[in-house]
Symmetry: C2
Subunit: 88 residues, 2 copies
């Protein structure tokens, strides 16, 4: 189990599909950021699903895996999106 | 000294100003992500500068502070932006 911060930079036409996949595995915390704990198996599945909807030559997703989720602190400047399961 | 992952969600009209400030303090690694080591003093200065250019009721910047930069691993799916000092 790892805690991950996921940031994406995906072109407009594929953005909804990418978000849909990410929302299955992570919490949506800011426009282009997801967070959450994930197992290795689920992470593998998530990457496979994403590979199908992304154009890997144009889009990019960074997964920052933090070994211990107590090892990071989040400082927010401005508004903080409520963590919800809201639809896109 | 902390290592930070910085993600921003800033409205179009203020985005260039926000990026300009962030580029003074961090490396620009993806469209809406910066990374880098920063001292407490510089972080304070960075937030003050950002507060002047952002609309804190509409924009948001998340700073993920990682205590030990060896405590995270980055997995990239798709293209990886070269870390450069490129102009916007």
């Amino acid at each position: 189990m790892s805690y991950m911060i996921v940031v994406y930079d995906v072109e407009e036409e594929r953005i909804n599909k990418a978000r849909k996949v990410l929302k299955k595995y992570f919490l949506w915390v800011q426009n282009s950021v997801f967070e959450g704990e994930i197992t290795e198996g689920k992470f593998e599945k998530c990457r496979i699903e994403l590979s199908k909807v992304l154009d890997l030559k144009r889009d990019s997703i960074y997964f920052y895996r933090i070994e211990n989720k107590f090892n990071y602190k989040k400082v927010v400047l401005g508004i903080e999106k409520e963590i919800t399961d809201n639809f896109i």
